[in-house]
Symmetry: D2
Subunit: 277 residues, 4 copies
């Protein structure tokens, strides 16, 4: 037993290693953005036979996982996702995890990843998940509302540019009979206008009528809804009766709309806090 | 279509937000340790009815997930886990992810978490996973071999202190008929020697004979093994024949031994690089 | 000579140590504040017989040194000093030194310190400087105008609280005949109102009439002035004549006014950039 | 007086800005190197007519200022300087300023700069200092003795490469009658061996016999010396008499020797702490 007397001492002898951990607190009064990106998702989409250019099951699963992150982590006011990436924005005054960057990003990455596997079956049914996928993440801080909106606009503009390209590319391949190499060649150097023109004149596709989910990505925000439930209640000296109880509940709501223009922000003024704070 | 001409421009207009990302490169020539800890695992173990004081299925699943991390991320030279935590050590000269702390820790957290859900069934069979669990992580740097070994010793001493306590606690409850409150009370202020004495004199349990997995945790390292396979080969102007081919392959190997003393390190001299480098 | 052939090689062999330097770029679009504080100035003021509670020579020297910093480092839009401290604010969009925190703060500390010694004689005349004084510094980032103004307000409120205390303390000692211990005792627990009352009723001093330099500290900003100089010019085929040339020149201007209220900022709207940028 | 009642409150209202300061503690058990570099010293040397290729007054002043830094800041175990730069190495276990990088580097920069002006006259006599010079600084961490020695070797190799070049360059100009443009041209593409050859065959200069101060730079370390002083003492019932008292005193000692090879380190084993610690 002498061995064990020393074990507590041993532990305290080693405990100095704790002090090698460094502080990574995020600057106060800045929005904290955690962005996740799929790792080796090119290979992952091949092996799981995702439809081209967009696989709605996969997009639904990404969105479901992001939803799960928002419900688990306090203080995420908006999330935006497209393709194999998702960004989560913590409110600028958040004190979640004492604003420690490492805790925030690993928790988001972990919750998202376990959810992705957990909810796979809901979206892919019997098609098996072949191996556990992974995502990497990063933290970026934005000091002002303008900077944050520009960040989200950057991601949505990226969604647009990629989706337009992919839509034309796969249309040329799937309907136009081109090889992927020929399609790539055809699109080299084309501008957005040219791509729209190809879609319209050769395939009678108006890009603006394509799915908003694909063109605009997915924006998740919290919304208050009044929920009315009927409860049976009984007060003293009264007969039991049915009562309608209405409460306000916050729920995650998905949008596939433009978030670059001001309209979205004017309709949802409670997402951002004022710079003047 | 005019809208789309401007979309590329729009994207470039927003791209300045990229420069808000800050560099978090880990100091060169230091060991990079990523430690994961289960979030709200007290609740998780309750809801999934983990056996007390240790659930071998859960420990196996942790180990399996850590194994998956080691296979996906280059340059992890040793991993150590106990209870709901696992530490991963990147070699000091690693340039994986350009040593960016955020990428390293989120990738580890993500791969571990998706693996935990993915392999759940292998360890828990038909018992369903009720919701996606999560882990948070951190990065700590250690400049010398002494510091790194002391870090691992600290975690193993922690394993020992906790497991001894839990073993006595649950023996008092499960075999001694005490309530959890009574057991807690009984153990207040006891030293390791006292706890060993309780186990031995009251329950004829010699703590040293308890499972090494529980007392020492799990250490994962890479080991080279010679693998011999028989292949059928045919050379020009020869008949086809069977040939034995032996190749050296690296595999992850689990240990449940003491890593505080020098013996383990003397037997595995290839894990650590020399400080003099 | 063989030795020297290898010297270039030797240098390149060691050059890897460069990569141990880590990036400390300040977050974009935030005000960068560098604050300097005198080291061991209690001893310094004793040894150089500074007058109590304020030494105008010393305050003038601090201000002169800050002035020198502003002229040497681009992008400082405002500086505020009191007692043995001075804060320098770089504009939020500054790219000076690529926003590297270490460069910014060491340059400020260095320029201020060498100026302090250089200009000593201008303020202290024949009284010798006994040894080289030093200042330490730090960098703090502020994301919004509100935060920055609150920082400066914090320093000016500190100036006020200290100066009121020191004024009463040294009045009690110098005019009231108390020992320093008695004066300290007398002031224990007093509020600002009490201190004003002591000054007024016992010494007929209205604190508001005390020197603004002492009560408000020193604020340095850039101001544009039109300067008119008379030059003698001669054009071809004309006689030489005197011409008045007016140019706008930026100069550092000192204020000893309130910067907590909005008035100062309304009168100097060009100091801060808009949060909406 | 109502104004002043609120001033304490005002201060506490603003005090939240304190929390915007972030922690910049240096990783434990690493050597902390602060390097200073002269700012715009090309212009400074021109305006103060420094002799070429080396000005011993300027080198002496650099060394004197570094000496002053070592005496003011605890825990600097070695400093190395050449040209207009000086590096200061804090021992790996130092807790000076709680290892806060900003405090360490600003204090070094400040003390060095004020000393440079303060001691100017000692080295430049009646030649006036025209304006306050400045230095910028940085902090770099080195985890092992090998890394630290390689850092110092890098700086000394840099000294060698530059001094050899400058020696030949100015010899060609001053003794060879070349213009600076011609000298530059002549040296383009030459190796160290070529430069030695020019010095030797054209000017009968053996570079190895040049001043060690110029070839090797200046290394400052602490050395213990026994100092014997004679004191007059008087014990009770004895006559007053002279007594020799010897005490060990630490003093900063300058060397101009090679620090790339192992010899220097073998002769001064107390400078570095062991990696195994």
């Amino acid at each position: 037993a002498r061995l064990f007397v020393s074990s507590n001492m041993a532990k305290s002898k080693f405990e100095y290693v704790r002090n090698f951990e460094t502080d990574d607190t995020c600057l106060k009064n800045c929005y904290i953005v955690v962005r996740l990106d799929g790792r080796n998702f090119h290979r992952f989409t091949e092996q799981h036979k995702f439809t081209k250019p967009n696989d709605n099951r996969a997009l639904g699963l990404m969105s479901r996982s992001a939803h799960s992150v928002m419900e688990e982590l306090e203080d995420i006011v908006i999330a935006y996702g497209q393709s194999d990436e998702f960004s989560f924005v913590f409110k600028r005054t958040s004190t979640w995890f004492k604003r420690r960057a490492s805790k925030l990003m690993t928790h988001v990455a972990s919750q998202f990843s376990s959810s992705y596997v957990f909810y796979w079956k809901e979206f892919f049914g019997d098609q098996p998940l072949l191996y556990p996928p992974s995502f990497d993440g990063r933290v970026v801080l934005y000091p002002t509302n303008r900077n944050l909106k520009d960040y989200l606009s950057w991601r949505q503009a990226d969604c647009h540019v990629n989706n337009l390209y992919n839509t034309v590319f796969w249309t040329l391949v799937q309907k136009g009979g081109l090889t992927t190499a020929q399609a790539e060649d055809r699109l080299k150097g084309t501008l957005a206008a040219d791509k729209n023109e190809i879609l319209f004149s050769e395939f009678e596709i108006n890009y603006n009528n394509e799915s908003a989910l694909h063109r605009k990505g997915t924006t998740l925000i919290w919304e208050k809804r009044d929920e009315t439930v009927t409860k049976r209640m009984k007060r003293p000296n009264e007969e039991e009766k049915e009562v309608s109880v209405t409460r306000s509940r916050k729920r995650v709501q998905a949008y596939h709309c433009d978030i670059i223009g001001e309209q979205f922000w004017e309709e949802h003024t409670d997402i951002l806090e004022d710079d003047g704070c």
